[in-house]
Symmetry: C2
Subunit: 494 residues, 2 copies
C-alpha cells in the first residue's frame, strides 16, 4: 500500500481473538514446516495436535455408509453403472436414489436458503424421535441447514447484537467462537462462570448475578444466553433441573437461549445422559413451554461421525416470533445456502442405517468402535492428567476435551514476566506454559486464557482425540514438563 497513507483496520477485528487456531497452533505450524524442511532442532520428530476437535485429522475413520451415499449423490453416473452398483450395499444405492429424486437437478445447484426440504425433514424427524415426541413436533420450517454449527451461531448473534448496547451471556470457560463473534459485532460479553469444583456445573443464581453485573457495569441489555451442553471446553453434561432453571431465567428476561448441542452424542460418564434443551423446554408447564425462545445448534463435525470437512450443521427454532423468523430467513438468503455436500451429510447423520438394513451391522460396528474409543480415552485422560504434579482434572463426562487446572510455582510466573518484558509482549502465563510445552515436546494444546477462566486460575484444553499411543505420549510429555518446572522453580517452595 502507499506508504504515505495510514493503514486502516476495523478495530473490532483487531479485538477479536480465536485461540483454538491462535498463537500456539500457529507456532506449531511453523515447527511442522521446520520439521518437514529439515530446519531447526527440536527434541521430537513430529507434533501431536490436541488443539482442535478434528477427529479425522487424527486417524478417526469416516462411517462407510455415509460416504457411500455421499459419493453416489455427488456423482450420479456411478449409480447408472450396474457393475459399480453391484459392488455397493443396496441401502446405500437406494438412499442415494431417494435423495437425488428429492434434490432433482443434483448437488451442483444452490438449494433453498434454509436447505433442501428432504434434508430438513430428516433433521426434524430425528429431533422429534430424539426428544421422545414431547410438545408440538419440530417441522421443516423450524430447521435451517448451515455451514457447521458456527454458521447458525453467527446468524443469531448478528440478529441480536448491533453494538455496545447489546450483551450476550456466555459461559466461562467458553468456546471462543462466541467471544470472537461478539467482539466483531461490537457487543458486550456478560460472562457467567462454570463451577469447576462441581464438575464444571452451572447454577441459576450465577446467571442472575451475571445479568445484574452486566447491566450495572456496561449498561448493555443481555439479549441472548449461550449454553454449551455437553460443555466445550469443560466436558460437563447438564442435568435437567439446571436446564429448567436456565430456561426459566431466559423466559423471565425475554432472552433467547442459544443451545450449542454439537456434542450431544458425546456423553461417556455412567449416569449422565444428554437431554436436549428442546425436550426440557417442551416438557415444562406454560408459559415456559410456549414462550421461551430457543435456538438449538448441531453439526456433522463432532459426535461419532466427525465429518468436520463437510462443514455441515443445522439450527432448530422453538418459539421464535414471526418477526424474528422473517429476519432469519433474510439473513440466510444473503448467505444463499449452506454447501450441499454438508446438507447431504447432515441428512445422513440424522437418518443412519437402522436394524434390518443391509449396512446396519457395519455401521453399528464402526460407530461402537469410535464411540468406545472416545469413551476410554476420556476416562484415561482425566485420570492420568489428574495424577500429574500440579494438575487437577474434572471428569470428562462428555464432549471431546479435558480442561485441567494448572498450578505453577511462583518462580515460573516471575520468569514469564521477565521474558515478556524482554520479548516486548504480554503472553498470559498459561500461554507461556503451552508454548514451552509445545517447543519442548511437540504437543499442541490451547491455554485456558483462550477460553476464559476464573481470574487467578490457569488451565489448558486438550482434545481426547489422539489415538492411544499418541495419547500416552501426550500424557508423558505433560508429566515430564510439569516435573521439570517444579524441579527448577519450586525447589524452595516445598
Amino acid at each position: 500500500m502507499r506508504s504515505d497513507k495510514p493503514l486502516y483496520i476495523n478495530p473490532r477485528v483487531i479485538d477479536a481473538e480465536y485461540a483454538v487456531r491462535g498463537l500456539i497452533p500457529s507456532r506449531a505450524d511453523e515447527i511442522k514446516a521446520d520439521l518437514a524442511g529439515g530446519r531447526g532442532s527440536y527434541p521430537f520428530e513430529s507434533l501431536v495436535y490436541c488443539n482442535i476437535g478434528n477427529p479425522q485429522s487424527l486417524g478417526q475413520m469416516p462411517l462407510t455408509f455415509f460416504r457411500q451415499v455421499m459419493a453416489l449423490v455427488d456423482a450420479p453416473f456411478l449409480q447408472e453403472d450396474a457393475e459399480i452398483v453391484a459392488r455397493l450395499p443396496a441401502d446405500a444405492v437406494s438412499r442415494a436414489r431417494e435423495y437425488l429424486a428429492q434434490i432433482g437437478t443434483g448437488t451442483g445447484a444452490y438449494s433453498d436458503s434454509f436447505g433442501y426440504q428432504f434434508a430438513r425433514a430428516a433433521v426434524a424427524a430425528h429431533i422429534n424421535e430424539r426428544d421422545h415426541g414431547v410438545g408440538p413436533a419440530a417441522t421443516v420450517g423450524d430447521i435451517c441447514l448451515t455451514d457447521g454449527a458456527s454458521g447458525g451461531a453467527k446468524i443469531f448473534l448478528q440478529l441480536l447484537v448491533s453494538g455496545a448496547s447489546d450483551a450476550v451471556m456466555i459461559p466461562i470457560p467458553q468456546y471462543p467462537l462466541y467471544s470472537a463473534q461478539i467482539a466483531l459485532l461490537g457487543g458486550v460479553k456478560a460472562p457467567y462462570y462454570m463451577r469447576e469444583a462441581e464438575r464444571w456445573g452451572m447454577k441459576a443464581s450465577d446467571l442472575v448475578a451475571s445479568y445484574e453485573r452486566c447491566v450495572a457495569e456496561s449498561g448493555a441489555t443481555p439479549r441472548m444466553l449461550v449454553c454449551i451442553n455437553p460443555g466445550n471446553p469443560t466436558g460437563s453434561v447438564l442435568e435437567r433441573c439446571v436446564m429448567e432453571d436456565v430456561l426459566r431465567f431466559c423466559h423471565e428476561h425475554g432472552m433467547l437461549l442459544l443451545a450449542d448441542e454439537v456434542y450431544q452424542e458425546n456423553v461417556y460418564e455412567a449416569g449422565r445422559k444428554f437431554v436436549s434443551f428442546r425436550e426440557v423446554l417442551l416438557g415444562m408447564p406454560a408459559p415456559y413451554c410456549a414462550e421461551t425462545m430457543l435456538v438449538s445448534l448441531h453439526s456433522t463435525s463432532k459426535g461419532v461421525i466427525g465429518e468436520c470437512g463437510r462443514r455441515g450443521g443445522y439450527f432448530c427454532m422453538t418459539n421464535l416470533p414471526g418477526a424474528l423468523r422473517e429476519q432469519v430467513v433474510k439473513l440466510c438468503s444473503i448467505n444463499i445456502c449452506a454447501n450441499v455436500n454438508g446438507q447431504v451429510m447432515t441428512a445422513l447423520m440424522c437418518s443412519p442405517p437402522r436394524e434390518g438394513d443391509a449396512s446396519y451391522a457395519l455401521y453399528r460396528r464402526e460407530y461402537d468402535a469410535i464411540f468406545n474409543g472416545l469413551k476410554e480415552r476420556a476416562a484415561l485422560l482425566a485420570r492420568e492428567l489428574g495424577a500429574v504434579r500440579g494438575l487437577s482434572c474434572q471428569p470428562v463426562e462428555g464432549a471431546m476435551y479435558a480442561f485441567p487446572k494448572i498450578e505453577l510455582p511462583a518462580g515460573y510466573s516471575e520468569r514469564n514476566e521477565e521474558l515478556n518484558a524482554k520479548e516486548g509482549r504480554r503472553l498470559a502465563l498459561d500461554a507461556r506454559w503451552a508454548l514451552e510445552l509445545l517447543e519442548s515436546s511437540g504437543v499442541v494444546v490451547v491455554p485456558g486464557s483462550g477460553f476464559g477462566q476464573e481470574p487467578g486460575t490457569l488451565h489448558f484444553r486438550t482434545t481426547i482425540l489422539p489415538p492411544h499411543e499418541q495419547m500416552e505420549r501426550v500424557v508423558r510429555a505433560i508429566r515430564e514438563f510439569q516435573e521439570r518446572i517444579y524441579k527448577r522453580y519450586a525447589s524452595g517452595d516445598e
Copy 2:
C-alpha cells in the same frame, strides 16, 4: 416469546436487503408450493426461475471429470476397488490419488484456515498462467479458499468497515451481497453509477465525484472500492484503460480494490476479453504495481463449471501489508476453514484436463457445449428483449444476466401508487412490475431496485440460464406482459 417483553432485533439486520432471494422469489416459492399442492388458480403450470445465477438448477450438466475426481476423493474406498477403477478414466483416478496423498487423512477433516496447500497451489498456478506471468508470481500464501466468493467478500468488508465512519464505493447497479453486508456492518454505501448508454461502462471521473460526494454528505471515509467485472447485473466487460484508471484512483486514496471476478470465464462478445485486475495492476509502472492493494475474488459457482452447490471459491491478495494479512488470517481462523468439498472443486476448476489427458476430449466437448449455449442465449436475450415495446437492452458482453431498462406508461405508475396505498406497502414500481409478471406468467425476475439504479429509471435482471425452449417462453411472457400494460395504460399517450 413473552408477550410483555418487547422484541429486540438488530436494526442493521432490518435494514439489510437481498432482492435476489427477496420479495419476488419468495412469492414465486409460494406459487410453486400452490402449484405442487393443486391450490390457487394460475394461468401457467410451472415457473421459470430467472432470478439467480444457478445454472445446474436449470438443467446445466456438471463437468464429468470434476465429479469423478470429487467422488473418488470423498469416498477413497472406491479407488481401492480395481473393478470400479477400471470403469473410470485413468486421469481421474490418478488425480484423485494425487489429491488424497496431499490431503492425507481425507476430506472429513478441517483443513488449515486458508485451505489445503495443494488446492491453493493449483489456484496460484492457474492465476500465474492466466495473467501471463506478469509481475511477482502469486504464491500459496496469497491465496485463501472460501465458501463461495461471498465468503471472501464478507471477510474484507468486515476488515475495513466498523460502522458509520467507514464507506465502501460500490457500482450501481451492483450485486446486492455488497449493499447487504455494508448494511449489516453499519457502514456507508458510496455509489458510483455505471453508464448504461455506454454499454454499462464506467468512468474514472465518476469515481472522483462519488468519493467527494460521500465524504461531503456522510463524513465517512471510503475504505474500499468494489468492482464487478464482468458486471453483475450489467453484463459489461471492462477495458484495460478503464481498469488502470480505477487502480490509480484506488492508489491515490489508499483504498483497497475488491475485484469480484467470478464471471471471468463468461465473456461472449466478440472483441471483448477478460483481463484480471491483477494482470493490469502488475503491468503498471511503480508505484502502482507495488503498492495498490488488491483482493480478487473467484468462485466455482459461475463460469462454465456452474458448481453453486459446492460453495467453493477463493481470494487472492496482492500488495496487502503484513498487518492487514495478519487480521485476515485471524478472521479466517475464526471461520475454521472452507468446506473441503468446495476446496477440491476449486482446485479442479483451476487445473482441468489438458490436451493429451484421457479426459480431455470429453471435457472439451462438455465445456464448449455449455459455453456456446450461454453465448448464444446472451445474444438472443439481449436482441429479443431489446425488441419488446418499452424495453431497451444493452449487449450482454459477459456474466450471466441481462439488465434491460423498462419504460412504462404513466398510468401504470399511478396505479402502483393506488395499490400501495390500498395494500399499505411501498412496493417500488419495478417490483410491482416483476410481481405482476410473475403472477401472470410464472417468470421470476428481480426488479432493478434490488440492485440500485439511476433515480427515475426502471430495470429488471434476468439470467441467461434457462434452456432454449424456456428462454422463448420468458421472452414471449415479457413481450405479452408489456403489450398488455401499454394497451391498458397508454392508450391516451400514443
